[in-house]
């Protein structure tokens, strides 16, 4: 072969350019198509689609929260949904940011102080187990029924080695009535002294 051929040896040794044979579609692929088509129809039909058209960016957190049934309030579920982000599932809180619930003097003492914290929240300095925290706790008085506050209070007072007595809805109702004039969060630990 010539010198020119040697530059193109790679091209010369190749197979022909590819092409295709014409055959009917395999039966298996027909089955796959039929099965997936059926799946698609069933899946669309089974999925709830008629959700409000206004759902979009206008939704707020409350729209998506599961409806809360007050009659059978579940303290553990309420805690998992509302408290765990700050106080942690371990009840130890986050050092320097969120106070612990485990072993907290506010939970192992009189029921009133637990109820009042949940009803109105706290904004200001509070000392728990020797550490001082300067944060903010939201109030649950408006969002939770008496039974729900009682359930979550009883839950946190009985977990992680806490030995606080159980609280019922009637006690919460009494506490709510007692402080109905309070419109702002409690100003830290000092405001709470009178309920301890």
């Amino acid at each position: 072969m010539s010198q020119q051929d040697s530059d193109t040896v790679q091209q010369r040794r190749e197979n022909p350019d590819p092409n295709e044979q014409v055959k009917p579609l395999p039966f298996a692929i027909m089955l796959v198509i039929a099965a997936l088509f059926t799946f698609g129809v069933v899946y669309i039909a089974e999925t709830p689609l008629n959700l409000p058209g206004t759902w979009g960016d206008q939704r707020v957190l409350a729209d998506m929260a599961a409806p809360v049934k007050s009659a059978t309030a579940d303290g553990a579920a309420l805690f998992a949904a509302n408290c765990v982000a700050c106080h942690q599932a371990t009840g130890l809180g986050v050092p320097g940011a969120f106070p612990p619930l485990a072993g907290s003097e506010y939970l192992n003492g009189k029921p009133d102080v637990t109820i009042q914290i949940l009803l109105h929240g706290i904004k200001g300095s509070i000392t728990v187990k020797g550490s001082t925290f300067n944060g903010e706790m939201p109030n649950f008085g408006a969002r939770f029924s008496d039974a729900e506050i009682a359930a979550v209070a009883t839950h946190v007072r009985s977990q992680w080695g806490n030995k606080g007595v159980a609280i019922d809805a009637a006690a919460v109702a009494k506490g709510r009535d007692l402080t109905k004039a309070q419109t702002t969060p409690w100003n830290g630990g000092q405001d709470l002294e009178k309920y301890r």
Binding site: Q11, P16, E20, Q21, L36, V41, A45, L51, G56, Q88
Partner: protein, 558 residues
């Protein structure tokens, strides 16, 4: 009519219409396709088997399967070889430039990927400067792969293959060189912008709008010669690779322009973002890689593609379904339920094109799997093809709400993305480089052992990468779903798996360095001048292959 009725009827009508369209194509009701498909079988082509693992029996099968095909090696149709040589000459410069650029981006992207990976388990490493923060290194990794390595490799393969299939030289190739230059400069500018903290804040679309405009212009200029060549083709029938390539060249600019238009806000923005993010994989890298497999696989084993009708089904269903699947990234978001449901269903429908391709590839390969021992190209593209099947099936099921609940927002998704873009696209492109570069340079790969080393480093490295990250991702997802565990548990549980990922990623990066050095040797024709193609295990080749190896053109020795 309610949303359910509208969605259901639209789905049923669309699928029936699509199937009728594909059926009519196969029956040549719209074109003369069927007859054109068989007449392409050219009489008596060159017969030296490129990857000489074919047995005499396979060659007999090849002949019996195509009427009019002369005894292999007996009659050489010189005109076809000259057309091929002419095509290769017209594309060699641009392909060489783009492949070199691709390898540069591959190295850069691997480096930044590895840095990001290590940072996930050594968070205090390299924290001195802003541009070495995780948020930047990961973004640079993503963009260097998505707009550097993958498109440069895919486009160079496309530019090299299209003129060959159209039996004509590449026309107005200068546009592609200029376009490629603009693209690469824009990408470099985009990465610098990202490193200095100037980005659009949307994943996959981080490069700021003014710079992205340069990429759109550059990409369009690369498309000009391919369209021009398509218009001046000398064949009647368009081979399946041509469909995928021309469609991808049309889809990509549409995707980028629409997604980059500064008109999307709120939930629409997220929808457009993921419509783009998923489609750039499915409607750009995937078709170009599939086109490369559809060309190289039959080329190497010397058999025609098994079934034209499967190719048709695969192409049109991919084209139809893929554009609608991006919404599955928004499960759990406030996007409308019908949109997400449609995306999930169409994600599952993607099993159709995947099954069509897989059956086609398997039936074409049947009886020839031994060849993968010897041929580097076949090794990479076969693995790539298998990973396409795997990643697509995984993606389809991952879209289901029941599985997405666990895997969303975990490393599982990252593993899946790499199965597609690395296991599939990158592997196929490695194979394409090993096949194309010797023809571009007229020079054989100097070190076959380096190909072996590259192969095992990236395959084992990626195996480790994928396995570790998948397991870590599932554990992370389960920990996040468990309300009794604090969030930090879902982070710490992944640590050993992230270290495993870094080791795998390190092996892959090492493999890329081997590959890059080898490519550099090719570009400058360094190393020993070899006279035979780079194949593995010659000693173990079946005796039937010996004549082919002996038939080296004498001119090569001069």
């Amino acid at each position: 009519m309610n949303a359910l009725g509208m969605l259901l009827s639209a789905f049923v009508i669309a699928i029936l219409g699509l199937m009728f369209f594909i059926w009519s194509n196969g029956r040549s009701l719209l074109t003369g396709g069927e007859e054109a498909a068989s007449e392409i079988f050219s009489a008596g082509e060159v017969g030296l088997v490129e990857d000489p693992a074919g047995t005499p029996a396979s060659r007999t099968r090849l002949q019996s399967s195509s009427t009019g095909h002369a005894q292999v090696g007996q009659h050489v149709d010189e005109a076809d070889i000259l057309a091929r040589i002419e095509s290769d000459k017209s594309t060699s410069l641009i392909v060489l430039i783009m492949m070199t650029a691709a390898v540069f981006w591959l190295l850069l992207a691997s480096t930044f990927g590895l840095i990001s990976s290590i940072k996930l388990h050594q968070p205090d490493w390299l924290t001195g400067s802003m541009w070495l923060g995780f948020g930047v290194t990961r973004t640079i990794h993503l963009n260097a792969v998505a707009y550097g390595w993958a498109p440069m490799a895919c486009l160079s393969s496309c530019i090299w293959i299209l003129p060959r299939l159209l039996k004509t030289p590449l026309r107005s190739g200068r546009w592609a060189i200029l376009g490629g230059a603009i693209w690469n400069i824009s990408l470099l500018a985009g990465l610098i912008a990202i490193a200095t903290g100037y980005n659009s804040g949307l994943e996959w679309l981080e490069i700021p709008l003014p710079i992205a405009t340069g990429m759109v212009v550059g990409g369009a200029m690369v498309g000009i010669p391919l369209l021009d060549t398509l218009g001046h083709r000398r064949t009647r029938h368009l081979y399946v690779s041509v469909w995928y390539m021309s469609a991808a060249l049309f889809w990509f600019p549409v995707l980028l322009i629409v997604a980059k238009m500064p008109v999307h806000v709120g939930i629409e923005q997220a929808t457009a973002n993921w419509w783009f993010g998923h489609n750039v994989l499915g409607l750009f890298y995937t078709p170009l890689s599939l086109a490369t497999i559809y060309y190289l696989l039959p080329k190497i084993i010397g058999r025609p593609i098994e079934n034209y009708n499967l190719s048709l089904l695969g192409f049109w269903t991919l084209a139809f379904f893929y554009g609608q699947v991006g919404g599955h990234h928004l499960e759990g978001s406030p996007a409308p339920a019908w949109l997400i449901t449609l995306s999930i269903v169409q994600s599952m429908m993607m099993i159709i094109p995947v099954a069509a391709f897989t059956i086609n590839q398997h039936m074409t390969m049947r009886g020839h799997f031994r060849m993968w021992v010897h041929s580097p190209t076949l090794r990479f593209i076969l693995i790539g093809g298998m990973m396409y099947t795997l990643s697509s099936l995984q993606g389809s099921f991952e879209a289901l709400r029941s599985i997405n609940t666990v895997t969303h927002f975990t490393h599982f998704t990252v593993a899946h993305a790499h199965l597609g873009l690395y296991g599939f696209v990158t592997m196929v492109m490695f194979g394409a480089f090993y096949f194309i570069l010797p023809r571009v340079r007229g020079w054989e790969w100097p070190y076959p052992w380096a190909i072996q080393l590259h192969f095992w480093l990236v395959v084992l490295g990626f195996g480790l990468y994928f396995t570790a990250l998948t397991i870590g991702g599932v554990l992370q997802g389960l920990a996040m779903l468990d309300a009794s565990k604090p969030f930090i548990d879902s982070v710490t549980v992944t640590r050993p798996w992230l270290i495993g990922r870094s080791i795998g990623g390190g092996m892959m990066t090492l493999g890329h360095v081997v590959f890059a050095v080898h490519v550099l040797a090719m570009v400058f024709k360094l190393g020993p001048k070899r006279h035979t193609q780079a194949l593995f295990w010659r000693d173990a080749m079946p005796p039937g292959l010996a004549p082919n190896l002996a038939t080296q053109p004498e001119g090569a020795a001069s």
